[in-house]
């Protein structure tokens, strides 16, 4: 108890990000424009695929983007948002400049991934699906499996896999990501582009 508390006292913990960020809607329109359909059934089958494309491009789906998907496929935004909040892959909040996946599959759990989740909570003050206040880092705890079990416990920061990692290594990896590639990422973000692996 004493340790956990003192860790919180010593380290400055940024509050989770709650502000607004916009998505360029013209890009969304272009992304979903090729989702054409012959009948009502096919249109419904395409909702998830269209959302996936938007989510993959921007890292999240804003309500405005969801509205465009709904229009394209002749459905309502309520329906679209119902899907966004049900399926774990979708995010309805912006991602940080650096997105980290912590594999929390069974193999990684056995090899100690719980300590990694705890480390991020203690050091960076964010939990699954949250983004740090400076918009630098967001994490996602993968309940499934990244499928690189021989490297367990595995994390994926942006496009690179790291494993096996200890909590200390994880912190330094994150610091290095923020310092090293910050400038490059800034540029990419301002172009409205986002890499995905």
């Amino acid at each position: 108890m004493a340790n956990a508390e003192s860790a919180h006292v010593v380290l400055p913990v940024p509050a989770p990000y709650t502000g607004r960020q916009e998505i360029d809607l013209d890009i969304v329109r272009e992304l979903v424009s090729h989702f054409t359909f012959d009948d009502f059934e096919e249109a419904q089958e395409l909702i998830l695929s269209a959302l996936q494309e938007v989510n993959e491009h921007f890292g999240w789906v804003s309500p405005e983007a969801a509205q465009i998907v709904a229009q394209q496929l002749n459905t309502t935004v309520n329906r679209v948002f119902g899907l966004l909040t049900f399926y774990a892959d979708f995010r309805t909040e912006p991602r940080g400049h650096h997105h980290m996946l912590i594999c929390h599959g069974m193999a990684c759990y056995v090899m100690g991934s719980q300590a990694l989740v705890q480390e991020v909570q203690d050091r960076f003050g964010i939990d699954d699906g949250e983004t740090t206040g400076d918009l630098q880092i967001s994490i996602q705890v993968v309940n499934g499996c990244l499928g690189v079990c021989d490297k367990a416990p595995v994390v994926k920061i942006d496009d690179d896999y790291h494993g096996p990692v200890t909590p200390e290594e994880l912190t330094s990896l994150l610091h290095r990501a923020v310092e090293g590639h910050g400038a490059m990422r800034e540029e990419r973000m301002s172009n409205g582009q986002r890499s995905h692996g």
């Binding site: 419904q44 089958e45 395409l46 049900f86 774990a88 892959d89 193999a107 705890q118 909570q121 499928g147």
Partner: protein, 568 residues
């Protein structure tokens, strides 16, 4: 040029003769590749090897060796422990596989200066002092049937696949077998569902074919949301045409107008390679109207999931395809009567469908000769944890657990002591030391509280506290519950709460009884398979490790509740 882009040669096949001609051409091209005078370098690219930098190795090969050798991008071969690997075939010699390559090693390996990195020779004949790969303990006890093309063909090349026998079964059901004969073969093979249920595919097909509505579908369930299964991903990455062929055969035999493949969205490479396979098959006219001039029509759609474990359940999967929340429904009607868009739908697991082409080509008798009395054929297995070797393996049903762990996976990694193995993903109990001589098949494991499931098992060692582990497994089910029915939606959080109480040292022995009672409610009252088995891992842990639970009740397992957990 052997490695010329194939697109220009993929023209629509109009008849039986066209297909036979293409196959002959593909076979001679394949033979020429391995018997000709050029050097062939193949790099194994799969999700797991990409994570270890295999793409850089491939780029290096293309840059440094592109002028002197044919560079091929093949798939991973299941052996994660030797990734990234490259395979070099020199004129007149069998192909040699080199493992754990750094990009800087590529040229030296190519020049034959790094024989210490050689893992083995693909094929049966050794080369000098490099042994055959089949003699390696990892491969020796495997029986590769559906994964035999892994690491051999280029997954993006339909010609490679056809040269190795793809679409032969499809050809057979189009021209040689009647639907009844084909179903008879599948029934004779007694191939059971590989997704975990173990339901015989032949019976499902039969009832699908007899359905009164003529508009019907075949759906391949390639969604794996379990926290440790990636056999279907592996299969998609290494041999997409085999899966596609299985689905197309099912469509023709069951008279379905359209086939679907539902793939988990978290597998970008698998999706890309499978879409490529579908596009190539469409270009050849194997999918579409009037296939090979037979007058039969088959359409095909690829749909991707969004990362919900529950979508592995057949009715939830169909809802997901239809673009709504993936929540199971009450049965009956079963999906073969009323499935996708309320029409009869035959849903099979990827691995089941991948077995179909071989069954059609070699006959049901052949398949029934593999495996045990009640479980035929082979099984893809992914076992993880602190093991010496990792990977996706294919073993004959009936191999003992000990053989599987010690021979194929090389036993425990150094410094770890075996404590147990969590079987059947998150749907069954653990097995311990005393169970290691049980054969791996559908039925034997169930007798002792284990489960074959979809073949994703995890070994845990002495450092893992089973109470914490049980909490993790229960929390997984809590997270993945679709929230449709009350016992599962409220029961699983209740179990997690009780377990946390015990873990933080505030539990009593009554809590263990409470767990039993709550679990009983969840198991008996839940709507779908997820809820009905959700507490089983916890109950299994309690059964096999009662002392640890009693100890935890007394002393707890964690010093203090982590602050952030207390809130959830």
């Amino acid at each position: 040029m052997v490695n010329a882009p194939m697109d220009s040669r993929l023209t629509r096949l109009e008849s039986r003769e066209d297909f036979l001609e293409l196959r002959a051409r593909a076979q001679s091209r394949w033979q020429n590749l391995w018997e000709g005078g050029q050097t062939v370098v193949s790099v194994g690219i799969g999700s797991s090897s990409i994570a270890k930098g295999a793409l850089t190795v491939l780029d290096t090969c293309r840059a440094e060796l592109g002028n002197v050798a044919t560079i091929r991008e093949v798939s991973g071969n299941g052996a994660f422990w030797m990734e990234p690997w490259i395979e070099v075939r020199r004129p007149g010699e069998p192909p040699v596989v080199y493992g754990q390559i750094e990009p800087t090693d590529v040229v030296a390996v190519f020049n034959g200066e790094c024989d210490d990195l050689a893992v083995g020779v693909r094929g049966d004949t050794p080369l000098g002092n490099i042994p055959s790969l089949n003699e390696h303990p990892f491969f020796k006890d495997q029986l590769q049937v559906i994964s035999r093309n892994a690491g051999v063909i280029e997954p993006d090349s339909i010609e490679d696949a056809i040269a190795r026998g793809a679409y032969d079964g499809y050809f057979k059901v189009l021209f040689e077998l009647s639907a009844e004969e084909a179903i008879a073969e599948v029934t004779a093979a007694n191939v059971r569902g590989r997704g975990g249920g173990g339901f015989p595919a032949g019976i499902k097909w039969e009832s699908g074919r007899k359905a009164r509505v003529t508009e019907r579908y075949v759906v391949c369930n390639s969604h794996e949301g379990e926290p440790n299964v990636y056999k279907d991903r592996h299969l998609h990455e290494c041999d997409p045409h085999r899966i596609l062929e299985g689905i197309l055969i099912a469509c023709i035999v069951c008279g379905a107008e359209r086939g679907y493949n539902y793939i988990g969205g978290e597998y970008p490479l698998a999706i890309r390679r499978f879409r490529q396979a579908v596009a190539d098959a469409e270009r050849l006219g194997l999918i579409g109207k009037n296939v090979l001039g037979t007058g039969k029509n088959v359409a095909f759609r690829v749909r991707t999931g969004g990362g919900a474990y529950i979508c592995g359940e057949a009715s939830a999967m169909m809802f997901s395809i239809m673009g709504v929340r993936g929540q199971p429904r009450t049965k009956p009607p079963r999906s073969v009567e009323e499935g996708l868009w309320k029409r009869p739908t035959i849903a099979n697991n990827t691995e089941t469908l991948a077995n179909i082409p071989d069954i059609i080509v070699n006959g049901g008798e052949w398949f029934a000769g593999l495996g045990t009395e009640s479980s035929k054929g082979t099984k893809l297995m992914t076992v993880q944890g602190p093991l010496a070797r990792h990977g996706v393996v294919e073993v004959e049903m009936g191999m003992t657990l000990r053989q599987l762990l010690d021979n194929v996976f090389g036993g425990m990694a150094e410094g770890y002591t075996f404590k147990g193995v969590q079987t059947g993903g998150v749907s069954a109990g653990p097995l311990t030391d005393q169970h290691l001589d049980i054969p791996v098949d559908f039925d034997s494991l169930g007798d002792v509280g284990g489960m074959l499931g979809s073949g994703g098992w995890v070994i845990f060692d002495e450092s893992v506290n089973v109470v914490d582990f049980a909490r993790y497994l229960t929390a997984f089910n809590r997270y993945e519950s679709c929230s449709k029915c009350v016992p599962c939606r409220l029961g699983n959080p209740a179990l997690v709460e009780i377990l946390d109480r015990i873990r933080f040292g505030r539990g009593t022995m009554d809590d263990l009884t409470l767990i039993q009672r709550t679990s009983k409610h969840i198991i008996e009252l839940s709507l779908c398979g997820l809820g009905q088995v959700a507490p089983v891992p916890l109950l299994g842990m309690m059964e096999h490790f009662p002392d640890e639970f009693a100890h935890a009740v007394k002393y707890g397992t964690v010093a203090a509740p982590p602050l952030s957990l207390a809130a959830d």
